[in-house]
């Protein structure tokens, strides 16, 4: 009898021992998970994921509601609450992305690109060349402006540039229109030679006389400007 009791006790102890689980050390994995979600971008990922999940949940519940499923449960309150959570996570996600963008110390290249995008999405006119009276070959070129245009054209292949030719008021208006046209084309050729990307659309436009009293020489008006296209959709091609 004692032997039987002992055998049962040993058996039970063996079973319990076999069932006992040793805790796993998850610290290495936890560290990686924390690293993946760390910082502003991690916050953005976290909130974006939750926004999507809550949105899916709200859509699922809306379908149940339409199909008259789960009639015994207050689906409207559940779906509205999920919708509220989706909105809140979307706002938090946007805020985290803005914080990430603003923190330029850590990702200068990204911020530079975004600043460039912001720049080209604003209408921007850069004076590029100045001319002698009645001449269509540039007398003075703004090389820094040309270099900037070349840089932007390589970074944003579908950039669009309008080359605007002007004259002063010396001479006949019709002739000045033709001169402005030739000046614009001269600068267009110059930009091509200086390395503007082939995908960039360069369009020469003759504005003509820039204004001011008639028959007055003005060096500032004998010029060509380049206007960077501000059409956002065009850049998304």
């Amino acid at each position: 009898m004692k032997k039987t009791t002992l055998a049962i006790a040993l058996g039970m102890a063996g079973l319990l021992g076999g069932c006992a689980t040793t805790p796993h050390d998850t610290s290495a994995l936890d560290a990686k998970l924390n690293q993946a979600y760390s910082g502003d971008f991690g916050d953005f990922m976290h909130h974006e994921m939750l926004a999507i999940e809550n949105l899916q949940h709200a859509r699922l519940i809306r379908q149940y509601w339409k199909d008259d499923h789960y009639w015994n449960i207050d689906l409207e309150a559940d779906a509205l609450a999920a919708g509220d959570r989706a909105i809140k996570h979307r706002q938090d996600s946007e805020a985290a992305l803005i914080r990430w963008h603003d923190n330029c110390g850590r990702h200068t290249e990204i911020c530079k690109r975004l600043d460039d995008l912001e720049t080209i999405h604003m209408e921007k006119v850069v004076p590029i060349a100045y001319f002698d009276t009645a001449k269509s070959a540039p007398q003075n070129v703004n090389q820094a402006g040309v270099d900037e245009l070349v840089r932007l054209s390589k970074k944003f292949p579908y950039l669009s540039l309008d080359v605007l030719g002007y004259t002063d008021t010396v001479g006949a208006k019709g002739k000045n229109k033709g001169l402005a046209h030739r000046r614009a084309h001269a600068v267009g050729d110059l930009l091509g030679k200086q390395g503007i990307a082939k995908t960039t659309r360069v369009r020469g436009l003759a504005v003509g006389e820039a204004g001011g009293p008639d028959n007055t020489a003005n060096q500032q008006n004998r010029r060509v400007d380049v206007r960077i296209d501000s059409d956002v959709n065009f850049h998304r091609k």
Partner: protein
């Protein structure tokens, strides 16, 4: 001899019932009453599995209130639901050649487990009002704050 006949009949009925229950992963069995095959399948399945209403009520009411209410009110309600689903299953089985509306909603007891069953569009009083723990989708995970 009698017992072996009963055993064979029970095995055939169980096989029919199990094969009639579709995988719950995707669709719903709404509109089954329009097809004779659907009515026959649902009739057999509901006669064989009507008793699952008992644990369904206990589980969902326990989750909605507490275990005491689940074991008392849930059991009582589940017993009524069991009888109802089995009788409705028999009605679907007997009328299977004729297209009708769905006698039981959801069509199977295991379908949309948190939805309280309705028979001929009516439900027993005292139902639960929250999602239970045994639905196939993950409501709890989606409620993350």
């Amino acid at each position: 001899m009698k017992s072996s006949k009963f055993l064979i009949s029970a095995t055939v009925a169980a096989t029919l019932a199990i094969s009639a229950i579709p995988a719950q992963a995707g669709g719903s069995s709404d509109g089954y009453g329009q097809s004779p095959v659907g009515k026959l399948g649902h009739g057999v399945a509901n006669m064989a599995t009507g008793w699952v209403e008992l644990p369904k009520n206990v589980i969902n009411i326990s989750s909605d209130s507490n275990i005491l209410v689940g074991l008392t009110w849930g059991t009582l309600r589940g017993a009524f639901e069991t009888v109802s689903r089995t009788v409705v299953g028999a009605a679907d089985f007997l009328t299977f050649p004729f297209a009708t509306s769905d006698f039981a909603q959801p069509g199977y007891v295991t379908e949309r487990f948190s939805e309280d069953s309705r028979y001929f569009g009516a439900a027993l009083p005292g139902h639960w009002t929250t999602f239970g723990p045994l639905d196939s989708f993950e409501h709890e995970d989606l409620r993350l704050e």
